[in-house]
Subunit: 281 residues, 2 copies
């Protein structure tokens, strides 16, 4: 990381999130096609929060690979987040930095919208795209899931299906109710695509470019990246402190305190104070 860091910082990191079935892989693929047509070097990280045993990541890799397998300017990698200490927030920034230093112009981080991982990924990206499909994500669902706040660009995919216009209208309405319509703020566009045919993908690429330009102009890009770096430093520091606690456990200091708690001689907060004390002594 020390060797890579000076070479990183020029890639535009794009997060794509959405529920299963909205067409994330197809959309990512369509964006890669469009970016390659513009001569961009592209990295794709697909974060798979499901079990490492499911084989989903591997299968996903193989399907994705087929179209871009022979293109040396496209790197695609699935990462399982489950079971890793720290999950998405710990491993992904490092993978992003490697692709960045390797000269990717655009890095797409794709994740299934399950629970909090999409919010985590939004924290990692310069530009967050929230993908929905007609009938699946009405505005209220989106508001509940907290995605109205994290999306920089909303895309209603499978827009040839019934209900697409209603979903777009719902989303625009919900966004207009928020506080993101003030002058100078980025107002997230709501776009329609049919990723399978490529329809509307150019509009998304254009919105991505506009969002980047807006961020650069307003100083938001720097701000987001500093916040991202701070999150990453904190995650690494927590890992390091946890490792030290593991050493304590090995050394049976923690074991002894745990015995005292079970015996009722010490409460867990007092015990934790001693652990913190011995770590910071």
């Amino acid at each position: 990381m020390a060797a890579l860091t000076p070479h990183a910082g020029s890639a535009h990191v794009i997060g794509i999130t959405g529920s299963p079935g909205v067409g994330k892989s197809t959309s990512t693929n369509a964006l890669v096609v469009g970016l390659r047509a513009r001569g961009k070097r592209v990295g794709v990280l697909a974060i798979d929060p499901s079990s490492p045993f499911s084989g989903g990541a591997l299968l996903g890799d193989r399907i994705r690979m087929s179209e871009h397998a022979l293109d040396p300017e496209v790197y695609i990698r699935s990462m399982a987040s489950r079971g890793h200490l720290g999950g998405v927030s710990w491993a992904t920034p490092q993978a992003i930095r490697i692709l960045d230093a390797a000269g990717c112009d655009i890095i797409i981080v794709e994740t299934v919208g399950v629970g909090q991982s999409e919010v985590e990924v939004a924290g990692l990206a310069d530009t967050s795209i929230v993908l929905l499909a007609p009938g699946m994500g009405d505005g209220i669902q989106a508001a509940k899931a907290g995605i109205l706040e994290i999306g920089d660009i909303f895309v209603v995919n499978k827009a040839d299906r019934e209900g697409a216009d209603a979903t777009v209208r719902d989303l625009r309405h919900m966004i207009s109710l928020g506080d993101r319509t003030e002058p100078g703020l980025w107002r997230p566009p709501v776009l329609k695509t049919v990723a399978a045919t490529g329809d509307g993908v150019e509009d998304v690429l254009e919105a991505i470019g506009k969002h980047y330009a807006w961020m650069a102009e307003k100083g938001v890009l720097e701000e987001r990246r500093v916040r991202r770096a701070a999150d990453e430093i904190e995650a690494i520091a927590v890992q390091a402190l946890r490792a030290r606690m593991g050493d304590l456990r090995e050394g049976s200091d923690l074991e002894g305190l745990a015995h005292d708690v079970v015996a009722g001689r010490l409460d867990p907060y007092a015990a934790a104070d001693r652990v913190v004390g011995s770590l910071t002594a």
Copy 2:
């Protein structure tokens, strides 16, 4: 916690986990009825890993309350785990200790089997019950989910449905393939219930009693509780260290380091070392 700890340590903590639809609430309810018939004071903690916005916890509470609402010897509480820093592992041990110190003989911790929370809950319980339903949980699914390792008692609920015997047979077979059949080890029984009618619930209560006696005899009870206390102390210590890092962030130490990382002057590991250094100085 300091005031409570000396009074805690006598309750038998039972974890109940299973996928949605296997009948966890009904089973918990049936166990409470059986335990009350034996004169036990019972506490129930239902961990709800879903969104705090869903209202599921509130509704669940109300449904559960109806039968035991007037019984002063039964305490029932739903807890949302999502969105809380540290989740199940941080808040639940404290809730358990309060119920324990308040004189509950048995504390049932019920959780939906989603992702890792069931494994976390297994770490909190003296006795872990894994609930399955016919056709839902064949042995291979159970093995994949890692529940074969965590269950002390397996219960196939809705045993009046087709396929119950096959599920029982599958489970017994999978367990027989594991390393839990050695002499002296606890061999998890696989029982059948129809919780809605109470059929088989006495067998489960008997197995719970036997498991407790086995743990007490073999020293496993003490061992599990020490491990649990160690986990709890560690979780509290991590919280405390995170809070200190938050202070650092406020004081803009972390901010400055993050700027250096974004500018490529410092890699995140070196930055994290400095954070750890300043915390432990």
